[in-house]
Amino acid sequence: MFEQKITPYQNLSILILVSFAFQSILMPLLLSEIDGPVGWMTIIIAAVVLYFALKPINKMMLKYKDNSVLSIINKIFPKFLSRLTGIYYIVMFLTANSILMKDFAEQIKLMMLFRTPLGTIIILILLTASYATKKGIKTIANIASIAVLIAFIPYLLIIIFSTYYADYSNVFPIYPFDVTGVVRSVPGSILGFFGFSILLFSNSKVTVQENNRLISRKFIIISSILYIACYLLIIVKFGIKESVHLVWPFISVMKYVNIPGFFFESTEIVGLCFQIIVTFSCICIIAYFTNMAMQETFNTRENGYFVFIQIPILYIMAVVLPGMYMMFPYIQWPIIVLSSLNLLIPLIATLVDAKSKKAKSN
């Protein structure tokens, strides 16, 4: 909408929240693809790859201040390619958002609103999130930074209470490990760091962009620590053999929350309440950056009204898509393609930009 800037801390909150949402959705994939409890190796590999990829990308974004990767691509690539890239990001964000909404709506329906139609739950989530999206990045960033404090952190603390009677030796065996499985699950782990795709847009909205490199590194480190901690939590609680069968590992973990003196029987409801705030924030964030991608692809002055275009598309996609657990057998290749493109597009842009700079100086 109007020019708005966010603080580096708000940017970090956005990146961590969005990454967490996708890490929890893709966790069953990480658990089932590897034969053994060594998924943390995959996460470390993914984090290292992204960590080193960030340096040239941040350098390029600092050079083109206040420009997202898409607008940089618009400047350095031919029009056709830049449009294609823009459309790719739009479709990617729309798909990711609809999967997030669908998965979350299914959890709400199963655990809380058993008899409410799924479509009703999805449209209500969508309308509520769209209202916040239309207000702009500053509102969304405020929501995200508050959500981290009042929802995300308590959510993680509550989950820790589920480790009563957990078997910590379930993290073994470490060696010999399934090398093929670890390598095969790296694209899924890279995609789990969804904040990497978001930072390509959000970094241009930060007030002090010189700090972006530090913030991006902090994001990778914090996100990977959280990802590994959550993975290990599921492993110590259920063991690798049982966790492979779980549809929503986090909900299953929350069923075991055992806070001394707590009188709730359905402790997963308490966790779900926090998860509602986290997921709503993530949906707003992704919807906003879809708006931004649309604005830069179609060269419009404002982006707020794009959310009205998104609403029916997201609704139809969310209703039509099968649940995440039904898609797992078929999403191996799409994940490889998506995570490769997410990584390669900004890297190719930095390469092309560096070459054109060299050519100009020559």
């Binding site: 655990m111 058993f114 008899r115 409410t116 030796s169 010999p176 049982e242 299953s252 075991y256 359905s266």
Partner: protein, 374 residues
Amino acid sequence: MFTDIEVQMKNIKTIIIIIITSILLTGCWDSVEINKREYIFAVGIDKNDKALTFTSEIPKINEGSEEQRLVYTKDSENFSDFYATSYLHSEKAISDRLMQVIVLGEDVARDSETVKRIFDEIQRSPQMNRRVKICIAKGKAQDIINTEIPSNPIVGRFLSEMLIKLKRENYQDVYTFDEAILNLGKTGNTMIPVVEINEKSLKVERAGVFKEYELKGFLEPDEVAAVMVVLNPNKAKIRNVNIMVEGTNVSLGVVDIIMTTDMYLGGDKLTVDYYATLNSYIDSFIIGSNKLEDQSYLNKIKEEAIKSILAVSESTLYKLQHVYKTDLLKIKEGLFKYHKQDYEKISDKYDEVFEAADINIHLDMVIKSTGLVK
């Protein structure tokens, strides 16, 4: 930019939308009040000719009657069928969200297909908590649920608290459905508490040996204690060791156990050595004798005590290896976690390897104290 009237109109519209939204978005359109619900606290499942017999216990809340609970018995195919039938037979809505205990009848526990179906339904249910306690009834689960306990009329609460206590004090390894299914998934074996009628109450002393979702047999209290020592030596409880030394009854209490385990898998030959040091106190002797000051007498006490404990341990091991052929000691799990390469060579014939395994217990006892008197 906007006139006062336009701002006012905008505010009024916003307020109306907020009011309508907050009424419509509460999500309580299908709610049922608590006094219109019946919460099942305990369920007993037995087999009959055609299907299963479900016996449910429902505490009465705030009804002012003398009866503290209702007990329903229905024949159903499974839990869903049972709820559907119960729904039509009561003016209230049945809910299993507060279920405390599931009691499997002995006949059900001995049928692996039925157990698998029941366990699958429980783990799929988003309403049923996986932390629901589980136990096996010696005989019929219906008799257990129907037991009238004067001090605690709600059998579900009684059993739940009993099982929590036994788990906390390390008398039993498994007390929840979740632990049972995790063990069965990991190793194919588990030990589930057995509940029996004890005069006007219930007791949980023994444990049922489960292998591949089928009850193979029972372990006596001493045998359960021996298994618990191996599984969790730091918190295990050994009952008083009562022995006769030179015509005098001596009772020892084991206060803590230090244990190390050595596992070796050479080809198909598995050797497991447990080295345990039992630190114990003398609990009772006899007044007037000062033999406890004599080191050689103390050594005799130690020898007799070790013999007594070893006898129980070895008979337990024999039962597990040769009678039930069930690895409750989690040796398989240890091999998988710490000797994975060797384990993978024998994983498909582990049962035979376990039966032929050389499992040894080496005990040492240290009498730390004779109490407050010599």
